[in-house]
């Protein structure tokens, strides 16, 4: 990501910058609203994203009737 082109995403209507370490939507949201504010079950910093609990599911809103995907695996490029 080039520095002149900052990428922005919105949480509850407020804009936040997407950082280089925000490799998934879950990481992005957790870093701004707080680790404990986003409930997850199978997410663990020591393990690769597993995608079993589905608690961090997000809806792809920019597509009509967009699918539900895991936040822990969804990178920005794929939405």
């Amino acid at each position: 990501m080039s520095s002149e082109k900052r990428k922005i995403a919105y949480i509850d209507g407020k804009p936040y910058e997407i950082g280089a370490n925000h490799t998934s939507i879950l990481k992005f949201v957790k870093s701004y609203v707080g680790e404990k504010k986003v409930p997850t079950l199978c997410d663990d910093p020591n393990l690769a994203p597993y995608g079993a609990c589905r608690v961090c599911s997000v809806e792809v809103a920019l597509e009509k009737d967009g699918p539900t995907r895991n936040g822990c695996l969804l990178s920005y490029s794929s939405c």
């Binding site: 079950l41 393990l47 690769a48 994203p49 597993y50 995608g51 079993a52 609990c53 589905r54 608690v55 599911s57 539900t68 895991n70 695996l73 794929s78």
Partner: protein, 551 residues
């Protein structure tokens, strides 16, 4: 973690793959200590135990049984299985008869498995001969092509000479040209997801990897479908040819057919063909004196429906529990042993062969861009002409059912098209549908494998939903929570309705179905709500007595 296991398993390789070793050891009369196998391969013993305990056929409770009665949807609707079970129990003992899900004899029912062979139809009358180990003559299913051009049922690739001639021709063809032919044909994957086949081969050919694999997904577990069985047993060379060409195009030298253990004859037919081709140097090292080598093997499934899902299938071969993995990465970049892999369904590979031999323009001329070419359709025993047919995409369903299928033997009220995850289409909707993937999806159904299970007029729809939930509860891989818990909770609801101990809370059921549809990791538990929602929509009135009043 699983990445390490994949890599360790990759060191053992495909030929003596871990899954094969685990299942052969487990089924052997004098099994080795599983700790020793684990140690040999530098793997944790829990990995091996985990994998072994995943499969129905490897469980002691299964292995104690002698005969297995088919509990697929078609045999259930035909109502033949209770009597069959009683007859077998009488002969073998009450605790010696188990169940298997769909043996692919949906056109004659009465299906059961005994001593490595499948029997169906009138075979049960010869049970004494079967138990003595005598060979009996079995009825074969009826197959016929009704297509403008036959791609799947013709005899252009039925002998090894023809295989050799065609291979000679295509070994000299430019790889890009083969990909272009597939793209021009508009062939989409026949396994259910409908991804363009040419694109998949193209992606994999461009993927970087020191080793690549071709996998044929022959884990046809969909009840009502026996089209893959037809291809494996009657057109094995077409399937193999598709794999060899795929290997050539993507730059792979090794492939495997993952065939379900419920199809012993298919395994035999493919095994026979592979051995014959190897003898003639049409498989193996330096095929026909060129620098292209391609080896082919078979992996025998051990009774897990989920292995039809590509990531679960890969996990299975690697000797992990056959649980679904999240995508991306897709198998074309990180597949078997984390190497680029093409996973294609049996029918897709056979169609690719048909397209390359007959020309892509002929295939593209049938149907439309998104549903092109011909498709195998399986009709069950409620039709006057049950069998497997090759049919042009776009053909009206009523023509298929009434003319080709010859109408119904008994009054039917609905059809489950596309296996247990396909939609339930009421009889009245058949007139408005054509054989077209998008059309089925737009109306809330799913064409999938295009297998047809007829639901007779007097069959309880509540019972049918119970069957579907029971199926997903049994076959769910157990990884994602909505799938694992959801299918079980659904089963419980209908268990109680069946027993009459409680009525179904419709609101709760709808919430459960939406959660499963939106939240599940893969198409097994994520698509089982489709037929259930169809039934609730079209047959809600019939189920009124099973429902709670205030919701």
């Amino acid at each position: 973690m699983s990445k390490n296991i994949s890599n360790l398993s990759g060191r053992i390789g495909l030929k003596e793959n871990l899954f094969k070793q685990i299942s052969e050891n487990s089924l052997s009369d004098s099994p080795k200590d599983i700790n020793d196998i684990a140690k040999e391969h530098n793997l944790g013993v829990s990995t091996l135990h985990g994998a072994e305990s995943f499969y129905e056929f490897l469980r002691p409770s299964h292995r104690e049984k002698k005969a297995f009665v088919c509990n697929g949807s078609a045999c259930m609707c035909a109502g033949t299985q209770e009597k069959l079970k009683d007859t077998l129990k009488e002969k073998l003992g009450d605790d010696k008869v188990g169940e298997m899900f769909c043996l692919g004899h949906c056109y004659e029912n009465n299906a059961f498995h005994y001593d490595g062979e499948n029997y169906a139809g009138k075979d049960i009358e010869k049970i004494d001969q079967i138990l003595k180990g005598e060979d009996i003559i079995q009825d074969k299913f009826f197959s016929k092509s009704h297509a403008t051009t036959s791609f799947l049922m013709d005899d252009k690739l039925s002998s090894t000479e023809q295989f050799k001639d065609q291979l000679n021709k295509f070994l000299k063809t430019d790889k890009q040209e083969i990909i272009k032919s597939l793209l021009d044909s508009n062939l989409t994957g026949r396994g259910g997801a409908g991804f363009p086949t040419g694109l998949k081969w193209d992606f994999c050919s461009k993927a970087k990897g020191d080793k690549k694999y071709v996998i044929c997904n022959a884990d046809e577990g969909d009840s009502g479908a026996f089209s893959d069985r037809y291809l494996l047993e009657d057109q094995p060379l077409k399937v193999i040819f598709g794999m060899v060409l795929c290997g050539m195009v993507i730059g792979s030298d090794e492939g495997v057919l993952y065939i379900r253990g419920e199809y012993p004859k298919s395994i035999e037919a493919i095994n026979g063909s592979i051995n014959e081709l190897k003898k003639l140097n049409l498989l193996g090292d330096n095929i026909l004196g060129t620098d292209f080598s391609f080896d082919l093997g078979i992996c025998i499934g051990q009774g897990a429906y989920i292995c039809g899902e590509e990531t679960a299938l890969i996990a299975s071969i690697e000797g992990r529990r056959a649980e679904v993995d999240v995508r991306p990465p897709f198998p074309v970049t990180e597949g078997l042993y984390k190497k680029p892999t093409v996973v294609n369904n049996v029918e897709t590979l056979a169609a690719a062969t048909g397209i390359l031999i007959n020309g892509p323009e002929k295939f593209a001329a049938i149907g439309n861009k998104k549903s092109a070419g011909t498709k195998l359709v399986c009709l069950d025993s409620f039709f006057n002409n049950p069998g497997v047919y090759e049919i042009d995409m776009g053909t009206p369903m009523k023509k298929i059912f009434n003319e080709i299928g010859g109408g119904y033997k008994e009054p039917v009220k609905a059809f489950q098209v596309g296996g247990p995850l396909g939609g339930v289409v009421p009889l009245s909707e058949i007139d408005n549908l054509n054989l077209d993937f998008q059309e089925f999806t737009a109306k809330g159904f799913m064409l999938g494998h295009a297998s047809v299970v007829s639901i007779p007029k007097d069959f309880s729809m509540s019972e049918y939903i119970h069957h579907l939930f029971e199926f997903s509860a049994e076959e769910s891989c157990g990884k994602c929570f909505p799938g694992r818990l959801g299918s079980y909770r659904g089963k419980e609801m209908f268990d109680q309705a069946k027993k009459g101990t409680a009525k179904i809370p419709l609101k709760l059921l709808n919430e459960l179905l939406i959660t499963m549809q939106k939240g599940c990791l893969c198409a097994l538990c994520g698509a089982i709500p489709t037929p259930i929602m169809n039934i609730l929509k079209y047959f809600g009135d019939e189920m009124k007595n099973d429902m709670m009043k205030d919701n």
